[in-house]
Each structure stands twice: as structure tokens, then as C-alpha cells.
């Protein structure tokens, strides 16, 4: 290659790299747009709501007077419902994901399950509410309780958990499976000793995305009968009067954060709107805490897993 050709080559490379730089800038801008929107929304809630955030706000029940109203029953309800959701969705979703990846033969039943899972991801949440009302409340007689709400949301986020589980399982090298089988392990031993523990980081990601969605849902929860005004807390295990069993709280009436928020946003008094902002702020903080916990857990888990 002579000098002249070399010059032409270099000129072309400079031209090409200009596009690279341009895209780099566009990429940063797009990323910033996303992050700034989040920051702006969060800041807006903070500004409108910060005046209302206090210990009282967290430890008071709802009230007709905006200044006295609090979110005690709402955040306790949210936490309990999320607990049920997590306890239902994680085992179910992981089991389903494990089945699809480790057991399922490649046949039409598997195909149907697969299409179903992704289809369920697109069913509007309110329809889950209608389903749960018919199924959990009336057919199974679970009542309009924390249990029903938790299970409903569990169904709602199941597809996300399943998809995340499958992706995580797929990233486990085949050689690890073969190593375990070669030791004489049964399929179930391989799954419980290896597949599930090693994919737990990825499963967590799915759980987090799902739970972040579940914690903000309103429509299905109202449909299954969440309340709005409730000025007492579910009986905690071992604290109530003696006949109360450790699982009574599952069947207690409840409300959750987003419902409280929606109710306040539709009230005429402006003071309630700042309550709503404050509740929104705390809701995002709760999500953030959940995420933070999971990201930390994920980090811990990943540290121990190297292929």
C-alpha cells in the first residue's frame, strides 16, 4: 500500500469515526433524557410532598383533614401484600422457568406454555383483577384480603419472573450441568443444588422489575376489594389476642399506597394533592429500597459465581 492510498484510507477512517462520535453523543443524550425524566418526576414529588413527610405522616391513619392524614395503613398494607406476592410469585415463577428450561421436551405443549407466558405479560392488569375476583374471592373463598391481593399481583408479575428465570438459567454453562450429572446427580439434584442457586442473581432482577410494577398497581387491587379508609392494622402474628393465629393477617382487610394516592389525587382540596405527592415520593423510595436491596443481594451472589 503506497502513501497515497494510505492517505485516502486515513481520511475515510476519520469520516467513519465522526459517526461514532455523533452516536456516542446521541446515546448519552438519550440516556440523559431517560434519567432526567426520572429525576424530574422524583424531584417534583419531593418538592410537592416534602412538606408533608414526617414521622406523623408515616404513623397516622387516613383522615378527612389533609394535614392529619397519614399512610400507616397504606404502607403496612403495601409491605404485607408485597410479601405475599413475593412468596407466591417467586417459587411459582422459578418452578415454571426451571420446568421450561430443564425438563420440558420440545413439543407443542411447551410451545403453548411459552406463548401463554409472553401473552400474559400483555394482559391489562384490570383483567387480572376481574379474574381474581371471580377465582380467589368467590370460587376459593379467600375473601377481600391481603392474601387475595398478593396472589393477584403474583399472577400479574409471574411472566416477568418466568422470563428472567429462564434467561438466568440459560446463562449457566452446559459444562456445569454435565459436571453435576457426571457425579451421578438426578435431574432434581442438579436443579436444586446448582441451577437454582446459580441463577438466583438473574431471578432477582426479574423479581425486582416485577415487584416494582406490582407495588404501583391499583386497578386490580381495587377490583378484588381493597379498601380506602381503614384505621387499623392487620393483627400481627403473636401480638393479637390469643385466638389469633400467626396467619390471621393474611385474611385481614387492607389498603395499599397507590390506592391512597389515587384517592388523594382526586380530592378537591389542594392539600390532599401534596399528600399524594408525598405518598408517591415514599412509594418510589420503597421501590428504591427494594431495588437497592436486590441490587446489593445480586452483587453478593454474583461475586461468588464465576464460570
Amino acid at each position: 500500500m503506497n502513501q497515497q492510498e494510505l492517505q485516502a484510507l486515513r481520511a475515510m477512517i476519520v469520516a467513519h469515526k465522526r459517526w461514532d462520535t455523533l452516536f456516542g453523543v446521541i446515546g448519552i443524550l438519550a440516556l440523559m433524557l431517560g434519567l432526567m425524566t426520572f429525576a424530574a418526576l422524583f424531584a417534583d414529588m419531593a418538592i410537592n410532598g416534602l412538606g408533608r413527610i414526617s414521622v406523623d405522616f408515616l404513623t397516622s391513619f387516613p383522615s378527612r383533614r389533609a394535614a392529619n392524614a397519614g399512610i400507616l395503613s397504606a404502607w403496612v398494607g403495601s409491605v404485607l401484600v408485597m410479601l405475599v406476592t413475593a412468596f407466591a410469585a417467586v417459587p411459582l415463577g422459578v418452578a415454571a422457568g426451571v420446568y421450561l428450561e430443564e425438563y420440558a421436551p420440545k413439543n407443542w405443549i411447551t410451545d403453548i406454555i411459552e406463548i401463554n407466558v409472553s401473552n400474559l405479560a400483555g394482559v391489562p392488569s384490570i383483567i387480572y383483577g376481574l379474574l381474581a375476583l371471580g377465582l380467589f374471592v368467590y370460587t376459593f373463598g379467600l375473601g377481600q384480603s391481603i392474601l387475595t391481593a398478593g396472589l393477584t399481583l403474583a399472577l400479574l408479575i409471574l411472566p416477568v419472573v418466568i422470563v428472567a428465570t429462564r434467561e438466568a438459567i440459560r446463562s449457566i454453562p452446559q459444562i456445569i450441568r454435565e459436571g453435576a450429572y457426571a457425579c451421578g446427580a438426578t435431574t432434581w439434584q442438579v436443579v436444586s443444588d446448582h441451577i437454582v442457586p446459580y441463577s438466583s442473581a438473574g431471578i432477582l432482577t426479574g423479581v425486582i422489575i416485577g415487584m416494582a410494577r406490582a407495588i404501583g398497581e391499583t386497578a386490580p387491587i381495587i377490583t378484588v376489594g381493597a379498601l380506602t379508609f381503614i384505621a387499623f392494622l392487620p393483627t400481627m402474628p403473636f401480638t393479637g389476642e390469643l385466638p389469633a393465629g400467626p396467619f390471621d393477617w393474611l385474611f385481614a382487610p387492607f389498603t395499599v399506597m397507590p390506592i391512597q394516592m389515587f384517592n388523594w389525587t382526586s380530592r378537591p382540596e389542594a392539600a390532599f394533592l401534596s399528600n399524594a405527592a408525598a405518598a408517591g415520593f415514599i412509594l418510589v423510595l420503597m421501590t428504591l429500597a427494594m431495588n437497592g436491596l436486590a441490587i446489593w443481594l445480586r452483587y453478593r451472589l454474583r461475586k461468588n459465581i464465576k464460570w
Binding site: G179, Y181, A182, C183, G184, T186, D193
Partner: protein, 264 residues
């Protein structure tokens, strides 16, 4: 073609014997009518160009192919002293794998502690007594010439070891359950020369206790460590014999061409 008419030339005890073994990946026949003895407490190595079916053959012995759909065996592998066909449908692949262990090309320690890696085979067998496991883990690590290096860090992750140590850890894992036959699939091809040398030494020691079948793409390695050598080519067993004889005066032209680097 049957290169095995002279297979009973020695009077050594057999550990296993492949008889008319064919194997199919779906419609693709990867092994063609293989006959081959495996003598007890000897090292038998499989050589041959890439893709000739060495790994496929090795993995028939512990029924690894059962893990994937569409695979099919034909013929038999007679396992001694039970005189049972390992490939029979009535045989439980899990039992087979409990008696025949395997070491892979790339070290594949589980992301668990060194101790748990070695103990895994015992746990799978339902062994829970701490003292029994402790003893066997130590014995296996000693057997794999790793005990000295790791005895103070049994709680550390297996992945924190060097490549050669990891491979020895995998060998310890395979040893812990007292297998009767050990399969090695190119156990040193991902390792550096020094680690390779230590593994080769280890294999030579192991044959005191267990029968070994090893795949290698490295003829020098086969020459160094094995008692018997089989040369495979595109799914067929071309020649089987005492290693020295195969490398010094092979009976078949194809084997000679391969060994002297002139096949094609």
C-alpha cells in the same frame, strides 16, 4: 472394518468392552460399529483428528448423551465384573454415573467452596455424616495431589484456584466417590505446560487404583501416559493396541499417516 480380531492377545482382566457400538446424533451417525476392550487398572487413550468422535465415544460410557433428546445408541458396552450392558434401557444412567466418573476438557468446578466441590458426589449419594465426608474429601484431595495446596482454604471458592489446580479439584471430585472407571476428555487442553505435566503425573499414579480412559488430541501425551492406545477416524476405530506398538510400528497405513503427520 473390524480391527479387533486380535483383541484378546493379552490375558489382562477386562473392565469394559464396547461391542458393535454405534451412536447417532439424530440422523447423523457419529460412531460406526466400534469394538474395543478396556483393561482393568490400565490407562487407555483415544487419539484421532478433531471431530472423529473421540468425545462422543467417551460420553457413551457414562450415558452423558441421555441428557439430550434425539440421541441413540446401538450395540453394547459390557461392564465388568457385573457383565451388564451399560447402554441397556433397563440400566439406570444415574447408577452408571455413580460408578464411572468423568473429568472434562475445561475445568468446571461448581461455584461452591473447595470442600463442597469434592463432597458433592457424596452428598448426591445421600451421605450426610460430617466425619465420613471429611475423611473422604481429604482422601480425594490427597489422591488428586491437591491436599497440600488447599488444606487451609477449604472454604474458599473453587473458582479462585488456578487453572491447573481447578482441574485437579475436578479430578478430586471425580475420585471422591471411589469410581471404578474414570473418563478424561482432553483434561489438559486448556492448561499451561506446567499444569499439564502435573496432571499427567497424577494420571500415572491413579492407575494403581482405577481404570482410566482418556481422550487427547496430543499424541505425545498419549505416548507418555497410556498403556493402550486407540486411533479413531471419522467415527471408526481404526486401530487399537499397546501404546508403544501403535506409535512405533502401527499396523495400519492410516494410523501411521496420522502419527507422522501425513494424513489427509
Amino acid at each position: 472394518m473390524n480391527a479387533m480380531t486380535d483383541r484378546y492377545e493379552t490375558l489382562l482382566p477386562l473392565k469394559a468392552e464396547a461391542r458393535n457400538l454405534s451412536f447417532y446424533y439424530g440422523n447423523f451417525q457419529a460412531l460406526k460399529n466400534i469394538n474395543m476392550p478396556i483393561y482393568e487398572k490400565k490407562v487407555t487413550s483415544l487419539i484421532g483428528p478433531s471431530g472423529c468422535g473421540k468425545s462422543t465415544y467417551l460420553r457413551c460410557f457414562n450415558r452423558m448423551h441421555d441428557l439430550y433428546p434425539g440421541n441413540r445408541y446401538e450395540g453394547a458396552i459390557d461392564f465388568h465384573p457385573d457383565h451388564t450392558d451399560l447402554l441397556s434401557k433397563k440400566v439406570d444412567p444415574i447408577e452408571v454415573r455413580m460408578r464411572i466418573s468423568m473429568v472434562f476438557q475445561k475445568p468446571n468446578p461448581f461455584p461452591k467452596s473447595i470442600y463442597e466441590n469434592v463432597a458433592y458426589g457424596l452428598r448426591v449419594r445421600g451421605e450426610n455424616a460430617r466425619s465420613v465426608i471429611d475423611d473422604k474429601v481429604e482422601a480425594a484431595l490427597r489422591g488428586a495431589a491437591l491436599w497440600g495446596e488447599v488444606k487451609d482454604r477449604l472454604k474458599e471458592l473453587g473458582a479462585n484456584l488456578s487453572g491447573g489446580q481447578q482441574q485437579r479439584l475436578c479430578i478430586a471430585r471425580a475420585l471422591a466417590t471411589d469410581p471404578e472407571l474414570m473418563l478424561f476428555d482432553e483434561p489438559t487442553s486448556a492448561l499451561d505446560p506446567i499444569a499439564t505435566a502435573s496432571i499427567e503425573e497424577l494420571i500415572t499414579e491413579l492407575k494403581e487404583r482405577v481404570t482410566i480412559l482418556i481422550v487427547t488430541h496430543n499424541m505425545q501425551q498419549a505416548a507418555r501416559i497410556s498403556d493402550y492406545t486407540a486411533y479413531m477416524y471419522i467415527g471408526e476405530m481404526v486401530e487399537f493396541g499397546v501404546t508403544d506398538q501403535i506409535f512405533i510400528k502401527p499396523k495400519r497405513k492410516e494410523t501411521e499417516d496420522y502419527i507422522t503427520g501425513r494424513f489427509g
